[in-house]
Amino acid sequence: MTAEIIIDNVIHRWAALAFAVLASCAVTAPAVAQQSPAVRIGYLALAVKRSWPLSYLDQPPADEGIQGARLGLADDRTTGHFTNQDFELDEQIQPDEAAVTDAFGKLVAAGARLVVTDLPAPLLVKLADSPPAKDAILLDATQTDDSLRGENCRRNVLHLLPSRAMLADALMQYLAVKNWRHIMLAVGQGEDDKEYAEAVRRSAKKFQISIAEDKPWTFVAGARRTDTGHFQIEAEVARFTQGIGYDVLVVADEADNFGDELAYRTTDPRPVAGTQGLVATAWARPFEQWGATQLQNRFLREAKRWMTDRDFGAWMAVRAVGEAATRAGSADPEAIIAYLTGDKFEMSAFKGVSLSFRPWDGQLRQPVLLADAHSLVSVSPQPGFLHQYFETDTLGIDQPETTCKFK
């Protein structure tokens, strides 16, 4: 079936549905004569030109994030058809900080007080402290930064993706279960890489994994694309890992600059994990459990590409607003924000358990996937890692250790 026919069918079906819903409203909901005003959701992003990763195969899509938000909107609307609620997404993807700040003010002024963001941490904090944010809530869909959940936390910011601390804990729990207790850490030059490595160090200590060697990766493979460039890479990785006793090579390379070129090139045969190899992540292409296949399929149909973790973060953010609006039974932003940040909120997002926000830092508690390019390896928390309240709180910064003090 061609795409056009599918779309045709969908339109046809929705026309039938709209009729059906109108017909049913007369029977079941005479009190609601008119559809309440639409819930306005803002989508605010800074268009960042991301560096090209090492591999040709997986270039960062230009529409990463927003496609997830659009699918979330479609899902909210489907539910809304049955609850007499409608949703709108006001997309603001701006080229620079000033334009983002300006767009934020306009969004809130226009009534979009629930704003999904794809912004770097400093800008996110700046907006959260700005006057328009007083009556708004920011749903951070893409950042894994631990400081946003720690010393730079804000009461009006919620975080959908797992923090670096959660990602590192997910991996370290798995290594502990496998009894692969000794790791070597290879750290890239970027600030993000250093933060990822710091999360790994903290987590390794927490789960009693020893770091046999902790080394920065400084080699720049200038000749990689020349013929026979692979000899140079292989020699460098072998030298880098020589004479070290470890079980797993953990790599911190968030920008995909070198991590893919470590596996199979080490001196001793050791698996690679971290930002490449076995990756801890919120979403992965091989993931199909707990109904995830349905979300993968819906996204593929809509975006004509695979869903990334950033798309998933944005999808969760828009779905969280939809869920809160449905459960609160209201289109009033005040009521939705109250429900979203209250203790009753929970949502399902294909992870087999309900997800909710941690009240101490606004982080969505959730299981974390461990996957490589073509298979799901595991899902943390690992069985046996117990917690007094939520097993998912064995991942990341728990209440007693948080450095977040909401202003």
Binding site: R13, A23, S24, F82, Q294, V353, S354
Partner: protein
């Protein structure tokens, strides 16, 4: 229906009101007539069989319902999940989800004799009381397909919420209930007009719906919410939300999925997924009486024909558990195929 009753009469089994809700709806006078017809017919007796769909190895396990010995393992289409017995008890309808159709398995020859259209990704379905129509949840398509079995033709598609799954028809056949997992609703649909009657918001990821035999309530389980909502079918209001608590089991692991109501309507059994327990609920007081430890990741439930035993499919431990309904005890586990999902008992 007729054949089942006849077989049971001839087989010398004690008369008991049949456990399936379709059959509960029948009048006693009809049974007397059938009993007479049954005594006059010379149909050979056969013990009951337990049929289990194994979603990972694409098979149906057939077990002897008395000895639990394997009778046959039948290879079917990709990812068999929901299964149902035809109204004459001679065929098994199988949702082969990844094959995107329904297969009809002849239970005498154990061969797939027909393939019915289903719409994409059929997961669960339900049969109209007259046995002529299947209502199929198309998980990937936000639709319920209405299938004329004899004509092998989808007559209508009904738009519902995202990821439709649970399906139930009222005993009078007039109302269809579908649950949609991501929309978190039970959709009540008129089976004549195929128009929605009501949409009831329940807890996250509703997976299964079951009518009480009097048709006055629908019990809807919510997997991620971990609750069962009892919905009044007259008002479409939730009259009770049942919650579960098991010492030593994390709240997230308690996930309500399959349900089964005893033939006498007094008890409701609810499978609790990764909690590896089946909850026993008093249908009048809505109190949870007991939690029965079964195999891992318990999915769906079915009663033996006399209603005295309950079988549970355990998706992770690859077995079924046998529960004694009078004693409320799990008495046995029996290995089946890989990732057992649906279960049906056939004569």
């Amino acid at each position: 229906m007729q054949v089942q009753v006849m077989l049971r009469m001839i087989g010398g089994m004690r008369f008991a009101f049949p456990p399936y809700r379709r059959r509960r709806a029948e009048k006693r006078s009809a049974f007397r007539l059938l009993l007479l017809v049954g005594l006059l017919s010379a149909v050979p007796a056969r013990a009951e069989r337990i049929l289990v769909s194994n979603e990972k190895d694409n098979t149906i396990s057939v077990l002897d319902g008395t000895t639990y010995a394997p009778v046959k393992t039948v290879t079917v289409g990709a990812r068999p999940r929901g299964i149902l017995l035809s109204s004459d008890g001679k065929e098994l309808y199988i949702c082969t989800s990844d094959a995107d159709h329904i297969e009809v398995l002849d239970l005498a020859s154990y061969t797939v004799t027909r393939v019915l259209p289903s719409g994409p990704d059929p997961e669960l379905f339900t049969l109209s009381p007259d046995g002529k129509t299947l209502y199929v949840a198309n998980e990937d398509d936000n639709m319920v397909s209405v299938l004329d079995i004899a004509a092998a033709h989808i007559t209508t598609e009904i738009p519902v919420g995202i990821e439709p799954e649970g399906m139930a028809v009222s005993p009078d056949g007039k109302t269809l209930v579908n649950t949609s997992e991501t929309t978190s609703m039970a959709h009540f649909i008129d089976t004549t007009t195929h128009q929605p009657i009501a949409n009831v918001l329940v807890d996250s990821r509703p997976r299964f719906a079951e009518f009480t035999s009097d048709g006055k309530q629908v019990w809807v389980s919510a997997e991620v919410g971990g609750t069962v909502s009892v919905v009044d079918t007259a008002t479409h209001k939730i009259i009770k939300k049942i919650t579960f608590a098991i010492p030593g089991i994390a709240k997230e692991s308690i996930q309500a999925v399959g349900e089964a109501i005893t033939p006498d309507g007094k008890l409701v059994f609810v499978a609790l997924g990764p909690a590896n327990r089946v909850a026993v609920i008093d249908a009048q007081s809505f109190e949870v009486k007991k939690y029965l430890l079964v195999g891992q990741r318990v999915w769906h439930l079915a009663f033996s024909l006399d209603g005295k035993r309950l079988y549970t499919t355990n998706g992770v431990s690859n077995d079924i558990s046998v529960i004694d309904v009078d004693d409320l005890k799990a008495t046995k586990s029996v290995p089946v195929g890989a990732a057992p999902w649906g279960v049906v008992v056939a004569p």
